[in-house]
Subunit: 389 residues, 2 copies
């Protein structure tokens, strides 16, 4: 397959891109026409999503995190069956693909993790999936030994489908995990080189509960229990202290910035300039808090919010684009495989049809992309060389 357009390689230019099997085979510059009508982008990476929650979209409004979890989300998750979990996850994955997300770091729920892997296998998305680990909290979701079935998941799903699937460890958040569980996550992660992924410092009430229980911050507890390392991605991070940030840097932790979710649940606004020394990526979070799974919206919002906090000289449009692509690839330890359009990397890419009314300007490629192109302009989406949307 061969496509012509303005190609968002690390240094964008006009040219052709071809793929062979699951890899990018060639990228060549050619003369740019006067009007640019197609763009070729690396697939976007959402480092925080809950596809299993998709069918709870538009049911959990006007609540902050802890009420939202206990009143709607946990009861929804507790009622899922093997079959409804499959369709809810599939719906979220299909939507993600249709909006240009080719890779996800996906936290499932306590049960039916196999259903989520099956959905990912069948729809073709690149998926790093883990069951939500909870041994404290809502009675109808918690388990005495949540890690027991992880070896079964590893056998069945890890590195399967041409490496497109991976098993990850997902302690839900400090409030729903015992010390023993968190310590085991840290050990397993190091021993088997498994990604792990949790929520932290999202909401003030959450932070206060943890301070009350442990006399330490969220991040200090994760550090104390051996749960911070280069395989860790922390979602949200709205309320980090300077000490938290120093710990995260020391442990080479990645951050998944989720701006819509943070605003919609009234959690706040994460200041990316404070986090700029960490590896930053973007997350759409789940359908009941976002309520769309759209990386274009998240990029645009990230850039606009940064302008509010820091004026013109905050994060550039280019930096925001790189959070949504290469930053995600680094969080997933897949920077040699995905995250940018380079020969030999996986053929995970999108083709954009520039709308008639948009004058795409190659003098400002990232600004033009983020502010005048939307997911509605996606022409086609490829993962591992297969067209998936």
């Amino acid at each position: 397959m061969k496509f012509e357009g303005y190609i968002f390689t690390p240094k964008p230019f006009y040219g052709t891109l071809s793929s062979k099997k699951d890899r990018i085979a060639s990228i060549k510059a050619i003369r740019r026409p006067k009007k640019i009508t197609k763009l070729i982008l690396p697939g976007f990476i959402s480092t925080h999503i809950h596809t299993i929650q998709t069918h709870a979209r538009n049911t959990a409004e006007n609540m902050e995190l802890l009420e939202w979890l206990s009143k709607v989300i946990w009861p929804f998750e507790a009622k899922l069956t093997k079959k409804t979990a499959y369709y809810s996850a599939l719906c979220g994955m299909d939507e993600s693909l249709s909006k240009g997300i080719t890779s996800i770091l996906d936290m499932a729920t306590a049960r039916h993790t196999d259903s989520v892997f099956e959905a990912a296998r069948n729809c073709g998305i690149r998926a790093f999936i883990g069951k939500a680990l909870m041994d404290q909290g809502p009675k109808n979701l918690i388990e005495p030994h949540p890690l027991e079935e992880i070896f079964d998941h590893l056998d069945k799903w890890h590195q399967k489908e041409n490496g497109r699937l991976q098993v990850t460890l997902c302690p839900r958040f400090v409030l729903s995990c015992s010390e023993k569980l968190l310590r085991s996550v840290g050990e397993l992660s190091k021993k088997y080189r498994l990604l792990h992924h949790t929520h932290a410092s999202e909401n003030k009430a959450e932070c206060e509960w943890i301070e009350k229980r442990y006399k330490k911050s969220n991040i200090e507890i994760l550090e104390k229990f051996g749960c911070l390392n280069e395989w860790t991605t922390i979602a949200h991070g709205v309320h980090f202290s300077d000490r938290d940030i120093a710990l995260l840097r020391k442990r080479k932790v990645s951050i998944s910035h989720c701006p819509t979710s943070n605003l919609k649940l009234a959690s706040g606004l994460a200041d990316l300039k404070r986090l700029a020394s960490l590896n930053l990526s973007l997350g759409v979070d789940g359908a009941p808090c976002n309520n769309l799974l759209d990386p274009f919206f998240e990029m645009r919002l990230t850039h606009l919010l940064n302008r509010y906090l820091h004026g013109l000289y905050g994060f550039s449009a280019e930096r925001v684009f790189k959070m949504a692509t290469m930053g995600g690839a680094k969080a997933l330890h897949q920077e040699k495989e995905i995250g940018s359009l380079e020969i030999g990397k996986k053929a995970d890419f999108l083709v954009i049809q520039v709308p008639d009314f948009v004058q795409f300007n190659p003098d400002f490629p990232y600004e033009s992309l983020i502010h005048s192109i939307t997911s509605a302009d996606i022409h086609s989406v490829f993962v591992d060389g297969h067209q998936r949307a």
Copy 2:
């Protein structure tokens, strides 16, 4: 014509809506099906737009207001011809219609106002258009007597096309207008009941220049020169003092809130709770600062930003929706004709095809609309009963 769906009347319900000629003829409740697949919305109203700037999209990035105007926007406007002005305006109007905007309050440039009216006549949008009045500032745009041609515009365009077109007065902003010009705008507005529309308190440097020249704020100067009355709409209003707000309330001035433009030009964030006693409406502003003309994006951003400033109990999704519809109608003094779906009002409405993956929830109609529906889901757009997109 007759449509079935969930209808956003002032109290939304499921039913049918029919139009006859240019008016809504009937709205009737019927039994709601299990899955809602169509929505019927009043047309959105953008009370601040510059359609003539549309072809400058993606050319003026990473600048604040005054530099943005002087380096890119004014030179662009100065070079427009009768023909290029027509096509630039038409492009912006067609895009607006395609995104669900059925009425606009549109500031043109110093010349070629007829071209903008011609574009509006031909594309079918409801348009309240005025030449940009400037007798101070950039030499290649200012005129000694900018109001001279207003009577010609009134003759040719005012209340024409079944009342779809209106002439308005658009002093660009205090910095580009003499006292004499502003006083004349106030007088003409009152005498002929003409809408007038300006930018004010958008950018800190703009405010400082005005303070330096007059020892008064932007709004105090407009008040002093007789330029604030019930026919006034002020765009932006990021930096109002409490005294400014009290003056605006006293004079019954409407506000056009332009959140994307305010963030993108690093102007700041207007706090709507402070402005809640004024009539509030939404503006997409022009393509070179937004860079899309999308009321769905502006509504969503408005709601999210308000959550940042005021938590869950700021402006509700319903209130934001009403800014984008009835608030706009009131600013245009057209609240008896447009702004809501009611029998006898103008047939300005949109039909939305709810995407397969979205579960529209009538228990949260405004939240579902603002956070899970986008302009990409528009099925058709009607103005005065004619399909325009």
